[in-house]
Subunit: 115 residues, 2 copies
DNA sequence: AAAAAACTAAAGCTGCCGCTTGACTATCTA
DNA sequence: TAGATAGTCAAGCGGCAGCTTTAGTTTTTT
């Protein structure tokens, strides 16, 4: 489908349990790459790859000082996702509104008809 | 990783552009399977498979009457996702609060020290 | 200066996900 | 009742995402 939109990349990024766990960890404060890797039963390289994905979609930023790269969570990266959810809920509500308006109009007709 | 949590299934479901498009369509009102399939350049069977995934994670419900299956969007299915986002933002804020408290305490010390 | 620590980069492997095809069932229409 | 419509089921295929391994670099420690 060749979709490179923001919502697509961040959804894909967070579909991974490991990446979600990394974000959860970072949402409680910054951490180095090896700190992030410790809880996981996988190679450091694998965790680094996950971090790259999270950086590419703006959910994580990092800075290297000396030999240590420190990663931080970027809450703004959640916005595309949050917005998509809001839009879906809103559309569903509007649809419900229209249905209710339709039913209300029907009741109205009935009442005026019976009047 | 064998993760069957609600958040995992719904994130995975919505990581797919086609499935997201289906939800977008349904959030504006119910539709039959073939209606849903029309905009996509793929077989009906493929779309049916996507619908199944969306049903399994509670984002879509459907009902078959006669030979037509009508699908509806279930906004409640978004809750796990919405909650996860809220929690992440909250954790990040709290972390920021602690930082600010720490800095404020530092300023306090400075002031009392200079006093 | 040598060894250790903290990554980084690249190549290769494997399992799963999304898709197709084909064969089938059930329902509606002419 | 014949044909069309709407969906279902299952098998199979190809690509790619996530992981490993290996070999490197840079920085810190001893």
């Amino acid at each position: 489908m060749l979709n490179f939109s923001q919502i697509d990349t961040s959804m894909r990024a967070l579909a991974e349990p490991t990446r979600r766990a990394i974000v959860e960890r970072l949402s409680r404060g910054p951490a180095s790459v090896s700190d992030l890797a410790k809880p996981f039963d996988m190679s450091l390289a694998a965790v680094v790859q996950h971090i790259h994905v999270l950086e590419e979609c703006g959910l994580v930023v990092s800075e290297k000082v000396g030999r240590v790269r420190t990663c931080r969570f970027e809450p703004a990266g959640l916005e595309p996702l949050a917005e998509w959810v809001r839009e879906r809920k809103l559309a569903a509500e509007r649809k419900l509104d229209r249905l209710e308006a339709f039913l209300a109009a029907g009741e109205q007709d009935k009442e005026t008809g019976n009047d």
